[in-house]
């Protein structure tokens, strides 16, 4: 495979990526686009911090600030953090369970392109008459009142990318249920696979309420429905509920895969089996389950009444227990291990105190009467950046270093990696620790400016400096990526030396058909088991070498997504009433989508076979087991 790829021209490579259904390539697509959106969201964060650097600053106007703030939250959550995690899930999870690919390779590609086109659509709002400006939570009364098209961009963009995510979720769950290699029982699955599984289940149940809520909003704005119009009997609290029924599970969708990445890292770089594997699995499931019963903790001040507040307060607190189980199991994993401080590992080590700090402030917010003070203040901003940046973003950075060799066959520079780490880590605490106190001192969030001499000036300045540090860290990382790619020093199967799970048993990057022969799994950490038993191949095989059936590439996912993208513009401008071209655009877009879907379902697509002879050929060249 690699030999074929090298011969390709640039255009052919692009075409290859636009039509690919290979989970490893889709992972790279997710990584690139998620990374891009992370930079965009980060840039918006920098704008926020510059504006709030000093009292009464006029760097951004009031309206622009709200757009920047809204787009920062939306971009980071939907277009950066989730896709980046999906990148790792795609790259690693099928390998970890010894699968040939995901269950629905075509849908995998469709999911990606929907996400990308949705994300592009959302961000085009900047150039086409204004971004959404009602916060990432898009509360109904304000969103309905918002002028211009910002909110429509939000609604339509998130709908499209939300479908993409839902598809990805279903796909992963089916993959894990159906495609595990022989011997890979549920209780032998690596933790990253487990967290992928639970997070995907959360996606399946959490995205529908969001989609429904967004549709209500679209109908209200476009067809004059009255879901949220109070004078017509509507009720804006419905939006809040639907949003948070999605929104709270969403934060666990983000953090569970992050936990999974860290679980892998702790075990690898302590050279030790995960302590309390069963408990970790159980805690993951429990967190997923609780995730659906606590959403109203975002609504303590709405006026739901003391009974509801008390119930949700207690339910929320309960989540601290399974999360604590995880924290302590990780601690006991490194306890008694042999710890080496590689870049991924220092991220993991930094994660523990950062996340615990963020988690305990979460529990403080769960105390409803206390939350009356904390809600919508900078304390909340501090809380969620501690869990998100200190949990999810650190995991993404760690995962990037950890899995880079597996995805690209070359290692990121360790020294630059550590520089990135220190800048980012110090900057992160500098930025957000102080925000707890800003909140306690009465500073509300989502303010575009503040009046001086309220005791907030110094703290805001410090916070802004911290953000600068983070930016420097990110820039060093970009440099690292470019340098590594240029140098392109190839590495073998298990570049970290202590890999434990199946993905480290095959070449980096793996051949496009993954395992030439499906492995037989004989226990938890199966690669480690083989290694300890001195098996040079790193795998025991479950089947003789034979033909492999592979799916065909397809361009249809791009077309389907493009159709919706076009249709969205039609829908959006149809609203204006004075644009006769809008309706045809809407219809043409939908037609493109439906016709390409029809083509897909009517045309038989049976895939192709890689013959045994070809595999033997590859094997001789050492491309299937990395022994070259």
């Amino acid at each position: 495979m690699s030999s074929i790829a090298q011969k390709k021209g640039f255009g052919a490579t692009i075409w290859d990526y636009m039509t690919t259904v290979d989970h490893k390539k889709i992972a790279i697509l997710y990584l690139i686009s998620g990374g891009f959106f992370f930079l965009v969201g980060g840039l918006e964060a920098m704008l926020i911090r510059i504006q709030l650097m000093k009292a009464g600053n006029d760097f951004l106007s009031a309206g622009t600030y709200n757009e920047v703030m809204t787009m920062h939250g939306t971009t980071m959550i939907f277009l950066a953090a989730m896709p980046l995690l999906l990148a790792f899930m795609n790259a690693v999870m099928p390998l970890q369970i010894g699968a040939r690919d995901v269950a629905f390779p075509f849908l995998n590609s469709l999911g990606f392109w929907l996400f990308l086109f949705g994300g592009i659509f959302l961000n085009l709002s900047w150039f086409m008459g204004g971004a959404p400006d009602a916060g990432w939570t898009n509360y109904a009364s304000l969103a309905i009142a918002s002028e211009g098209h910002g909110i429509d961009f939000y609604a339509l963009g998130l709908t499209i990318s939300g479908f993409g995510t839902l598809i990805a979720g279903i796909n992963f769950v089916v993959t894990i249920i159906n495609m595990r290699a022989p011997g890979m029982t549920y209780m032998r699955m690596p933790l990253f696979t487990w967290t992928t599984f639970v997070a995907s289940v959360l996606i399946i149940f959490a995205f529908p309420p969001l989609t429904v809520g967004i549709f209500f909003m679209v109908f209200d704005r476009m067809f004059g429905a009255n879901f949220f119009d109070v004078t017509m009997g509507g009720n804006t609290i419905i939006w809040e509920h639907l949003f948070w029924i999605f929104g709270h599970p969403e934060v666990y969708i983000l953090v569970l895969p992050a936990f999974g990445i860290f679980s892998e890292i702790f075990a690898i770089f302590s050279r030790k089996r995960l302590f309390g594997y069963t408990a970790l699995v159980f805690a993951t499931i429990l967190i997923g389950f609780y995730g659906f019963m606590v959403w109203a903790h975002h609504m303590f001040t709405v006026g739901l009444g003391p009974t509801a507040n008390a119930v949700f307060a207690l339910a929320t607190m309960a989540i601290a227990v399974p999360t604590g189980i995880k924290i302590f199991n990780w601690l006991l994993t490194i306890w008694g291990g042999s710890i080496t401080f590689t870049t991924p590992m220092i991220y993991a080590i930094a994660f523990i105190p950062s996340f615990v700090a963020g988690g305990v402030t979460g529990v403080m917010q769960a105390i409803a009467p206390l939350d009356y003070q904390l809600h919508d203040s900078y304390f909340i901003v501090a809380h969620f950046h501690y869990v998100i940046v200190g949990g999810v973003v650190l995991a993404i950075l760690a995962g990037t270093h950890l899995y880079w060799p597996k995805m690209f066959g070359t290692m990121l520079n360790e020294k630059l990696g550590k520089w990135t780490f220190w800048f980012f880590f110090i900057g992160f605490h500098l930025t957000f620790f102080i925000q707890h106190f800003l909140g306690l001192m009465g500073m509300p969030r989502r303010v575009y400016t503040f009046v001086g001499d309220q005791g907030w000036d110094l703290y805001n300045a410090i916070s802004s400096v911290g953000a600068l540090f983070m930016a420097i860290g990110v820039i060093i990382m970009l440099v690292n990526v470019i340098m590594t790619t240029v140098k392109n020093e190839r590495v073998g199967n298990d570049p970290w030396g202590d890999g434990r799970t199946l993905e480290w048993a095959i070449p980096s990057p793996p051949p496009f058909y993954n395992f030439a022969q499906t492995p037989l799994v004989r226990g938890l950490d199966s690669y480690w088991i083989e290694k300890m038993e001195g098996n040079k191949k790193g795998m025991t095989f479950a089947e003789p070498l034979g033909d492999i059936h592979m799916p065909n590439n397809s361009f249809i996912p791009v077309v389907i997504s493009l159709g919706l993208f076009i249709a969205s513009f039609g829908a959006l401008y149809h609203l204006d009433g004075d644009k006769p071209w809008a309706l045809p655009v809407l219809i043409i877009g939908l037609a493109i989508t439906f016709i390409s879907m029809l083509v897909r379902s009517l045309k038989d697509d049976l895939g192709f076979h890689i013959t045994k002879a070809e595999l033997l050929e590859d094997q001789k060249r050492g491309e299937t087991d990395g022994s070259k």
Partner: protein
Amino acid sequence: MVNGLKKWRLFALLSALLVFLAGCGQKEISTLIPAGEVAADQFNLLILSSAVMLFVIVVVVIIYVLALVKFRRSKLGDELIPEQVEGSSRLEFIWTAVPIVLLLILAVPTVYSTFDLADISTMDVEAEEGDGMTNLTVNVTGKLYWWEFEYPEYGIVTAQELVVPTDERVYFNLIAADVKHSFWIPSIGGKLDVNPENVNTFYLTFDQESSELDDGVFYGKCAELCGPSHALMDFKVKTMNAEDFDQWVAAMQEEEPAPVEGDLAQQGEELFGADGAGCIACHATSGTGTSGAVGPNLATFGDRNRVAGYLEHDEENLKNWISDPQEYKPGNLMPDDETLNGGEPFSDQELDALAAYLMGLTVEE
């Protein structure tokens, strides 16, 4: 109960002084320096939970540091393959049980306080002779970037500056006239949303007279994003003892505002809308009335602490505001001066007159 609360308050005050002597913000606005019973309760919860959380963090950090110190590969040698421990049900039990206990410790006051702070049963109870409790009710309406305060018992309305007596419960009925807002006076007590579809009710108690503060007022905030000028949707709170409060009410209730003094101010009054058109179309200048006005009631404008809720209270800012409201509160609903003045901006002289008139509107002396 009340006695117990007093003790709590004392305790809260002391701990506030001790723990946060440095860096706990300003009295006018910081939740760390509570000036009301509700804020004090919440502050105590903050201290309690912080202590629990600190304990959790300390435990985690101790294990963590020990592990990192003891088990580095550089110390243990490169070749070591550690024992592959599976787990331990005893440890597992401990770190399940201890957090549960800690959470139970938090749960009890949480539930108690949740119900306690939501208790508005005495709202409509007539004050008994001599118990000193008058249980004032204020109807608050949140509007695009300003606040209206109606005192239904007294038939008076004011805006932007809430005036309340100390040492008694004040009940608030909150409703939004347009989009959702949230009513927050950080140093007095936690917030409650101001929804467009329903009236939310809660109470606060004000324990300190605002005249003791450097700025003479407590700061109130809108805490729910409500549009471009959400950041500027501030209000101020004047607290005074019952006697002063009664006087203020009486002054507000006077049907006829005090006659305007001085030529300039009279000219301003004229401009303001003596003939019923102009500013007066939206802004009332008498304290009596009901809620629902388009613009803030200006009866007490001269007594106010800020122009437009957040600008320094001087004529300069007032004139700036009148001549270009959008500059100071983007997206607010006040028309620009050309619309108000028949297509022409106000001249300097006219602005002076308006300012003189408005600054003279006062019910305090």
